[in-house]
């Protein structure tokens, strides 16, 4: 259980705002292994989203090396990045994750459809996953007919459907109440245990941080703490 899924070497990122250069990440070194359940926390503006986007091939680092599944993604073409996102990474965003005109079932199938899987196969996978995330009977509901928590469950089902090695989630519980957040965490932990896929999620909710198995604390674009969530004294 020690094959690395994510390896970062001296990753920096700065945004160009006209003449101004805004540094967001300063020399991040980080290894995350297969099967880990990692929370990334830190104050607003500390660089959580920036780092997740770089790992998820949605954005380019300014310098440093980013390896996902032992491949240097900074060398990837746009098409190859798109393929990486489609085939190897699952994404859950903060809100409005779903395509509004498609049902819960169709949203869950969506990435499988992009992958070109057979209709029956992807239907079966999606049906089973929706049951697993507790949405049996809601398969044909549109996102607008689901609660925020239910929508995030569909997003989790969609992310997990292709059985990616890595799931990236940017504040997946930010828009739901604490009780619903607990349920989503239970679900993610369950999937992490059952399917063995690696979870890296950002949060600024202490309750969510404590549910992780490893906590990375970012401060001003650098790793400030990396270890047991219980061993960290929250500021």
């Amino acid at each position: 259980m020690s094959s690395p899924v994510i390896q970062l070497h001296q990753v920096t990122k700065s945004y160009q705002l006209g003449e101004l250069e805004v540094p967001a990440l300063h020399g991040i070194d980080l290894n995350i292994n297969a099967g880990e359940f990692v929370a990334m926390a830190g104050p607003s503006g500390s660089g959580k989203t920036t780092l997740l986007n770089i790992i998820g091939a949605l954005d380019d680092a300014s310098s440093g090396k980013v390896l996902v599944n032992n491949e240097d993604i900074s060398l990837f073409s746009a098409g190859k990045k798109s393929q990486l996102r489609r085939m190897q990474i699952g994404y859950i965003f903060q809100h409005y994750n779903l395509i509004p005109v498609l049902t819960a079932l169709e949203n869950t199938e969506y990435v499988l459809m992009l992958q070109g899987r057979a209709k029956q196969e992807r239907h079966d996978i999606a049906m089973q996953l929706l049951a697993q995330v507790g949405l049996q009977g809601k398969e044909h509901h549109l996102p607008s007919q689901l609660s925020g928590g239910q929508q995030q469950r569909v997003a989790i089902a969609r992310a997990i459907a292709p059985e990616p090695k890595l799931i990236l989630a940017d504040e997946p519980t930010a828009n739901v109440d604490s009780h619903t957040a607990e349920g989503l965490l239970d679900l993610m932990e369950q999937l992490n245990k059952d399917k063995g896929c690696t979870f890296l999620f950002s949060t600024h909710d202490t309750a969510v941080m404590r549910r992780s198995h490893r906590l990375i604390w970012l401060k001003d674009g650098a790793v400030d703490y990396d270890g047991e969530p219980l061993g960290f004294a929250l500021p």
Binding site: T49, G56, A78, R85, R86, F93, Y96, V101, L102, A159
Partner: protein
């Protein structure tokens, strides 16, 4: 592929009101264009039918060199086989002979173009015999009767029943002369015709010119939908020594004008279609701005740029097709009604005869498949062109920026 189409279709329905307005505009343009097209086509086919059915015919046969020289001696040697073949094809053949000479009545004289006809054949296949100003058409039995063009009758100052002296050079070089009774006067057809036509029974013509049965022309009329090229090749097979021509070949400019009508309509369709395209552009641009976050998510989870591009293009196409289908469905009964009932234009036009052959006072549409294919195609092509810009915007979207700001 079907998933792509389905998603585009669902997105088309998403902002119902906006789609309805754009598709409705396209539908309205489609209806107007189809009606315009069908009415123009009705006018053209009606004019052509008038022209060909009066006297010209749909096809004509001449001896091979006749149309170069109009030489009296260049006649059709054996008219019978081609006449019979034409009858079997459902055409109505009429043999005709031509010659020039002088006509005189009282103390007035004028040059005349003599046309020898078989009255029975003319009556059976053509409308000119019914197009009279005064008197009657020449009798089916030859009895020394002549029909005159209106201007010729005016110049000679004659009425039906008056006598007319004809003086020509006959086939054998001698002077041919005969006395005719004027049976009737044609209503105006066209300047040249009105000024010079002297129509005779073929037998009287033969006597006058000592023509010995020479026929210069056979004109074939037939239903408007006759396949002329097929008929032409069938007639050529029977009479390879003759020159057989369709009316399009005989009157190239007229045929060209009829064909140009489609081009004019295409120009109209493009002008109207540009308006429709702006509607599509607007709809898609608004949609892409509203869905920025959604498209960002789609791209983030691995949707390719090509797929997003194609989806937007399809959406543009669907809006256009939706409008076209609705427009076509509305236009069809209107065209059928305009074809059946037509518009009575007699109240706006003083006389239906001024332009030559009589025009029907009712303007009717002519239903063909052409506008129902052409108009939606033009709309679709222009809508697709209009969709390119929003589709490019969507496909080039940066997912992180799209999600951050929306």
């Amino acid at each position: 592929m079907t998933d792509l189409i389905r998603l585009a279709w669902l997105n088309t329905y998403r902002q119902k009101q906006r789609t309805a307005i754009t598709a409705g505009t396209i539908a309205l343009c489609t209806v107007l264009l189809i009606l315009l097209f069908a009415l123009s086509q009705g006018f053209v086919t009606h004019s052509i039918e008038n022209f060909t059915a009066s006297f010209t015919g749909k096809l004509q046969a001449h001896s091979d060199d006749y149309r170069e020289t109009y030489d009296f001696y260049t006649a059709i040697d054996a008219p019978q086989p081609v006449i019979q073949a034409a009858q079997q094809l459902g055409l109505t053949p009429a043999p005709r002979s031509y010659g020039f000479g002088l006509v005189a009545a009282g103390n007035k004289s004028a040059g005349g173009m003599f046309v020898g006809v078989d009255p029975q054949a003319e009556l059976a296949g053509f409308r000119l015999p019914g197009h009279m100003q005064a008197g009657q058409f020449i009798a089916t039995q030859a009895q020394g009767q002549a029909m005159l063009g209106s201007l010729l009758a005016l110049n000679l100052d004659v009425q039906p029943g008056d006598e007319l002296i004809a003086l020509v050079q006959a086939a054998d070089g001698s002077m041919g002369n005969m006395l005719f009774t004027i049976s009737g006067i044609f209503a105006p057809v066209g300047d040249e015709f009105d000024r010079s036509t002297v129509m005779l029974h073929l037998q009287d013509y033969d006597d006058l010119f000592y023509a010995q049965g020479r026929i210069h022309e056979i004109s074939f009329n037939g239903p408007a939908d006759t396949d002329l090229l097929a008929a032409k090749s069938a007639l050529i097979k029977v009479a390879p020594e003759l020159e057989i021509m369709t009316w399009q070949e005989l009157y190239v400019t007229l045929a060209l004008m009829a064909e140009m009508m489609t081009s004019y309509m295409l120009v109209f369709a493009v002008i109207f279609g540009l308006g429709a395209a702006i509607g599509v552009l607007n709809t898609l641009l608004m949609a892409s701005y509203e869905r920025l976050h959604e498209y960002g998510i789609m791209k983030a989870i691995g949707t390719t740029s090509v797929r997003l591009f194609a989806g937007t293009m399809l959406e543009g196409l669907f809006i256009s097709l939706l409008g076209s289908v609705i427009g076509g469905i509305i236009a069809l009964p209107l065209v059928l009604w305009l074809q059946d009932t037509g518009i009575d234009i007699s109240q706006w036009m003083e006389s239906m005869n001024v332009m030559g052959v009589a025009f029907d006072p009712v303007w009717r549409a002519h239903l063909t498949l052409e506008p129902f294919i052409m108009v939606p195609s033009v709309m679709a092509v222009l809508s697709l062109l209009a969709a390119v810009y929003p589709a490019l915007l969507v496909s080039r979207l940066n997912p992180t920026e799209a999600m951050r700001e929306h």
